[in-house]
Amino acid sequence: MTDFRPTILAFCCNWCSYAGADLAGVSRLQMPPNVHVIRVMCSASVKPEYVLKALSQGVDGVLVLGCHIGDCHYMTGNHRTAKRMPLVQSVLKETGIDEKRLKLDWVSAAEGEKFQKVITDFVQDVHKLGPNPLREVRF
């Protein structure tokens, strides 16, 4: 288990969280290298299908990061995300996949440190959860 290196996918919105990630970089804030970012324009464009696809294919964790509520570049985009993701977690929970493998959080363009913290914490959490059980399951 100790040599388990989680593979994690993160969706970052162009205006806040991706910018926050860039700021973390510019500030040279160190964090674990397990998270792979996909840039989208708004967290509201993250189809829950992506999350379910990724996890069902064995990805160990998925992060969805957007602007803080109220700051969305598209006004209420992140409201949608905030509404959707808990239900995606329900789907995971009821099918027996730990819902903590999906995390939704808000990171503004100014929050490099927050980005670092979110990444570090999530990698730790997923590490605790261990490998995605679906890696082993063959249908």
Partner: protein, 559 residues
């Protein structure tokens, strides 16, 4: 089969010191559809860009992936480069291995290199599915509409007219000037407001470009940037390319607080303005600041009231130097050098400033001579009594009653106090997320005369941009729906923050149609679509799906 070229940037030491660039290049060569992979010391340098161009010609590339820094700063440069080499600029994909890899994994070169490979694999997978895009354009009606004929609106209109742009000024009152028309002298210059207004109104009256609609209200606004249609209650339909909201604000009228309406001589600033304008010379005046503001329910500072009280205190003393003027305040907000100067002059001239707390407000009672004010002075820590022939309540500016309706008409947001909320205080001042609609003056926030004027000019300047260009370019990240897959469930219509989607019917089939001029490319509709019918250009489900597959394939199957 796509022909992809991958260019990995050293960024001097910034990337290469951590990521094994050569290893990434070798890995890239093994990826599907990759026909060339190189590395540059600085991809963004003349030399780097040149080598990319060369490789495009030599290897007949039709897609380019650059693994370097962040798209948020350098994407335009590389897009331009591939465009010059004859590739549609939307066939370029940026992979961030600096901010997202080398700089944040400096102590783990091995893992950093692995991660860089994954990100490149994901970028390549997406690039293979990229499609050339054409940026849309729509024409712009060379006319502006300004809603509100107060100082900000007049300034904006005058400035547009000065730029020779046809401008319609819509004012609900029969006269122009708004609040300023009721103010005699404006601080801190102590200039007659009338001169200021008349100047602008004459300009407008004189110009054939200005079209004044007095006693008119906006009842409907249709369309989008470049192509609005504004309808008034007089059934005038005004086509416009841009709209400026300058609906202003109004003074808050207290309800029997501080004896207002019951004790004679208790009045608001506006009442005082009228009296002073008539030449009245009060002898004992008490100003009470922050009446109805900076308190639960209306937490904000109205910003103009302190200066107004200072201004009027000085006018009263100018008129009768022996008058006693006191200002009961919670803090004096006389920001800016000129205003700070007024504050100093006022104290030199004997104005008594007394600080009270929100928890112990002043009490106003009637006496046979007029009014008496009792207040607990926080500094002296005791109750103080005043006699006053005038008690002036400095109340805040509040939003117009109908500001929410106006917001709805224009589909622009307001804050909880009913003031209009601009897109971003620093990045997009006086703009809304909705292109082509702008805001200035007290409609946005209580503002002084100078602020209203500068905002009016700012709004006019921004509104003039699309009108002067004559067209608006639409970045090709807009959404498109596939009528064959669409089930017309309406989720996307409800998800769209810009009302850019509607359900249409053709040949008996109902489906969602995106108005790309209105679409801002947020992709909310894509996620809302229960099928795969809604797609965002440059972020299609196939492209993002391929990125996930690439990660799974490379990161998991290898381990």
């Amino acid at each position: 089969m796509a022909r992809i070229g991958v260019f990995v940037c050293h960024c001097g030491h910034n990337i290469a010191a951590t990521v094994n660039v050569e290893e990434v290049v070798e890995f890239a060569k093994t990826l599907p559809d990759v026909v060339a992979a190189e590395h540059n010391l600085y991809s963004c340098s003349e030399e780097g860009l040149g080598s990319i161009k060369k490789s495009i010609e030599k290897n007949k590339l039709d897609r380019v992936v650059v693994a370097a820094c962040t798209p948020r700063t350098h994407e335009p440069l590389f897009r331009k480069t591939v465009e010059l080499a004859g590739i549609n600029k939307y066939l370029f994909e940026f992979v961030n291995i600096r901010e997202h890899v080398s700089w944040i994994h400096a102590k783990e070169p091995q893992s950093a290199t692995e991660k860089a490979k994954m990100l490149v694999a994901m970028g390549v997978a997406k690039a293979a599915l990229l499609e050339p895009q054409k940026e849309g354009e729509s024409s712009v009606i060379p006319t502006a509409v300004v809603i509100g004929g107060g100082l900000a609106g007049l300034t904006a209109a005058a400035s547009l007219v000065a730029q020779n742009i046809d401008t319609h000024l819509i004012e609900r009152e029969a006269r122009l000037g708004g609040n300023l028309a009721d103010i005699d002298i404006v601080a801190p210059e102590f200039r007659k407001s009338k001169e200021l207004l008349d100047e602008m109104i004459e300009e407008l009256n004189a110009s054939p470009k200005a079209h004044l609609h007095l006693s008119s209200k906006v009842t409907e606004v249709k369309g989008f940037v470049g192509n609005f249609e504004v309808t008034t209650d007089k059934a005038e339909k005004i086509p416009a390319g841009a709209i400026i909201v300058a609906t202003g604000a109004k003074e808050w009228i207290p309800k029997d607080e501080y004896g207002y309406g019951t004790v004679p001589g208790v009045m608001t600033q506006m009442d005082l303005e009228k009296r002073l304008a008539k030449g009245e010379k009060p002898k004992q005046v008490v100003f009470i600041q922050c009446v109805g503001s900076r308190q639960p329910g209306r937490e904000y500072c109205s910003r103009v009231c302190c200066n107004t009280s200072l201004k009027n205190a000085l006018r009263i003393l100018d008129a009768s130097p022996d008058a006693t003027v006191s200002i009961l305040h919670r803090d004096i907000m006389s920001y800016g050098t000129a205003s700070e100067h007024m504050y100093r002059r006022a104290s030199e001239r004997g104005v008594r400033f007394m600080r009270y707390g929100l928890d112990r407000p002043a009490k106003v009672s009637r006496t046979q001579r007029g009014a008496a004010v009792k207040v607990f002075d926080e500094t002296l820590d005791e109750d103080i009594d005043f006699d006053a022939d005038l008690v002036v309540l400095a109340t805040p500016m509040v939003a117009q009653n109908d500001s929410r309706e106006v917001g709805k008409l224009l589909k622009v947001p307001l804050d909880k106090f009913g003031f209009f909320l601009e897109a971003h205080v620093k990045l997009k001042p006086v703009e809304f997320a909705t292109d082509g609609v702008f805001v200035c003056g007290a409609a946005r926030w209580p503002s002084s005369v100078s602020e209203s004027m500068s905002q009016g000019m700012a709004a006019a300047a921004k509104a003039a941009i699309p009108i002067r260009r004559g067209k608006v370019v639409i970045e090709a990240i807009t959404a498109q729906s596939d009528p064959d897959k669409c089930a017309a469930c309406g989720n996307c219509v409800m998800a769209c923050p810009y009302e850019a989607i509607e359900i249409v019917e053709s040949e008996g089939k109902r489906y969602a149609k995106v108005n790309e001029a209105q679409c801002k490319g947020c992709g909310a509709c894509v996620a809302a679509c229960p099928n795969d019918a809604m797609q965002q250009r440059g972020f299609t489900t196939r492209q993002l799906g391929a990125m996930i597959d690439a990660l799974v394939k490379n990161a998991m199957e290898e381990t």
